[in-house]
């Protein structure tokens, strides 16, 4: 993985030997990889393989205990200024949406721009409304998250992350908590985002989406990257036994 085809100076995310423990449990066992600007990577693997933990270390929702992570030239360390800087660059979408229930959808989106980017309320609302337009739910702006469907909530959550104008978007199983009929609408938004050139790291079990959208698929197992390949190679010519098994199991249904 070290001799990845991209030149390092194009890389927006560089991970070097990243380790992470939950107490005694070794979750990430030396992840070394990098992602270039505009790259769309899908991360998959069985549950407990550390894939969610990995992308959560990239904006310091989890702290790594060894190794280095450099995001857009800034190293993630204990330095709070760096963490806040990086969090402004990195948007995140969660499995459970995590919208703020006491705020309207519009307020959910404008909060970050107003408080962190120090925009005026009207500037922020203008951006928020255009983002809601982009994710196709402008008519829900003044409702509360509890009043809209799961798919709509997740689209608001994507708009909320985009409002910070991030350079990188992390998706942590964005469709796993959705009813099947709502998965498409969220994936459509993500496809559109991919076409716009956003750097995206997506943890997902949606193999169809992976094959269609990803430039690269990383397969995690037991805290390590087992397979790292272009979708065509990944699905048709997997190298590792564990990957073969995973693919055969996921494609069965």
């Amino acid at each position: 993985m070290a001799e990845h085809e991209n030149a390092p100076n194009d890389s927006i995310i560089v991970c070097e030997d990243v380790h992470k423990w939950f107490d005694d449990f070794h979750v990430l066992k030396g992840i070394t990889t990098s992602f270039e600007k505009g790259e769309r990577a899908v991360i998959c693997g069985p549950s407990g393989s550390g894939k969610s933990t990995f992308i959560r270390t990239l904006n310091r929702l989890e702290e790594h205990q060894r190794g280095t992570i450099v995001i857009d030239g800034v190293e993630l360390s204990d330095d709070l200024r760096n963490i806040n800087l990086i969090r402004q660059e990195v948007g995140m979408v969660f499995q459970q949406f995590n919208l703020f229930p006491h705020l309207t959808n519009l307020q959910n989106i404008t909060l970050g721009p107003i408080r962190v980017r120090k925009m005026t309320k009207s500037e922020a609302e203008e951006i928020a409304l255009s983002l809601l337009e982009r994710v196709d739910i402008a008519d829900q702006a003044y409702k509360y998250p509890s009043e809209i469907s799961g798919g709509q909530q997740q689209r608001v959550a994507i708009a909320r992350a985009l409002a910070m104008e991030p350079k990188i978007m992390l998706f942590d199983e964005p469709t796993s908590a959705l009813d099947p009929e709502m998965i498409t609408e969220v994936l459509d938004v993500m496809r559109e985002l991919a076409r716009s050139g956003m750097t995206m790291l997506v943890v997902t079990h949606e193999m169809g989406f992976a094959r269609e959208v990803a430039d690269r698929i990383l397969f995690f197992d037991e805290g390590a990257i087992v397979e790292d390949a272009a979708p065509a190679d990944f699905f048709d010519n997997p190298q590792h036994e564990r990957t073969k098994l995973f693919i055969s199991q996921t494609l069965q249904h």
Partner: protein, 400 residues
């Protein structure tokens, strides 16, 4: 995807129907809930008989035997205790300051505050109609006029809201200074009494213990062990000691520890009540904080909010909203607990009640006097309770 057309069967399947109509008048409700089985009939009849005899006895006493003259004769004592009569304008000045603030707030916020202002104005107006001395009725009428004028002035001026909040904050030291006065004309705090004292102690306690309690709760949840331990130790220590003990300690220890500072008795009691209430408040707030899912913190962090912003805009609004009933319960308990300051010699509302009964002129009128005091306590406590319900509705608690 919505279909463009339906077959007849499909349309019938998806046809919305009205829920079945129920005829549920009060008579039907009584029949369904009180007289639906033979044992419910029996219990209802027994209850009715009990209610009849109790209310008959109570009303007979209240309208034929009770000597209510004791209340108007001592009304000023109930209101302000031993506060000197010739300085009573100070109390009215304080009321007027509050009328201005309430009126302006009502104009700017409307809604619940507006209704509160109207009720308050109504109370002053009734005061002006009652057969008091002419000067007192004049004061009451002035309060009505000032409330109304302030309300009119504040109408719709939402841009000035921050100034009014500042005004409320500043009003507190101002009120203290006005009540106390300077030089020879000053009124010793030991003369402050009655409802005035009760309200001062309760308001100080509520206004200060609330932010202090929130702060303690946040400290108890802190990642820094030293802060967490200090806060936990404080909370557990205070909760392990009766309020009376803390009042005694406040009275005796504060002068010992701070000999240079002349902290008067009322302030000492205010501090003691505040420190006591803050510990309970902290635990109420902690309950709310723990109910906030981890995902809320993470989402806030992910959009780049720092700790203070996360707490201020995301966590506390949700946490506090969910514990409004517990917090207001604590406020009500605090309001009633102020009566314990009697043990260090301060004469609050209940203290006045006791001293009136001890007066030979009004011998044997315990029932009247205590009932009056109880009604006053109830009016204030229930107002708080009602206010909290209104606030919950306004905030949509439980809806989103």
């Amino acid at each position: 995807m919505r279909k463009a057309y339906y077959t007849v069967e499909e349309r019938e399947l998806t046809q919305a129907m009205k829920p079945p109509a129920h005829t549920k008048g009060p008579a039907r409700w009584i029949k369904d809930n009180l007289f639906n089985t033979w044992y419910n009939v029996l219990l209802s009849c027994l209850a009715l008989i009990c209610i009849f005899f109790i209310s008959k006895a109570l009303l007979t006493w209240a309208f034929t035997e009770a000597k209510w003259g004791v209340i108007p004769a001592n009304l000023q004592l109930f209101g302000v205790g031993a506060y000197p009569r010739e300085q009573i304008w100070r109390v009215w000045s304080v009321i007027y300051i509050l009328c201005v603030l309430v009126g302006l707030s009502a104009g700017m916020w409307g809604g619940l505050v507006f209704r509160f202002a109207v009720v308050l104005g109504g109370v002053w107006f009734i005061g002006a109609l009652l057969p008091f001395e002419l000067s007192t009725r004049g004061w009451f009428l002035g309060a009505v006029a000032i409330t109304a004028a302030a309300l009119f002035l504040g109408r719709g001026r939402t841009a000035l809201r921050p100034w009014i909040l500042g005004g409320w904050l500043l009003s507190f030291p101002l009120i203290m200074i006005v009540l106390r006065g300077f030089g020879e004309n000053s009124v010793l705090t030991s003369n402050w009494g009655g409802l005035l004292l009760t309200l001062i102690l309760a308001v100080v306690g509520i206004v200060v213990s609330f932010p202090l309690g929130v702060f303690l709760a946040l400290c108890r949840q802190s990642n820094l062990p030293a802060i967490r331990w200090v806060s936990t130790a404080y909370i557990e220590m205070v909760r392990g000691v009766p309020l009376i003990t803390i009042l005694f300690m406040g009275n005796i220890l504060i002068p010992i520890f701070m000999p240079g500072l002349d902290i008067n008795q009322v302030l000492r009691m205010g501090l003691a009540i505040t420190f006591f209430s803050a510990a309970y408040m902290a635990e109420n707030v902690r309950g709310g904080l723990q109910g906030i899912p981890r995902g809320q913190h993470e989402a806030a962090q992910a959009i780049g909010l720092n700790y203070v912003q996360t707490m201020l805009f995301i966590v506390l609004p949700q946490a506090l909203r969910s514990v409004i009933p517990a917090i207001v319960g604590q406020f009500i308990a605090l309001f009633k607990d102020t009566s314990l300051v009697a043990i260090i010699g301060l004469i609050d509302l209940l203290g006045v009640a006791r001293s009136v009964i001890a007066n030979p002129d009004w011998f044997g009128l315990q029932a009247e006097v205590y009932l009056f005091a109880a009604i006053i306590y109830f009016v204030f406590s229930y107002s708080m309770s009602y206010g909290s319900q209104e606030i919950e509705t306004a905030l949509g608690v439980g809806e989103h």
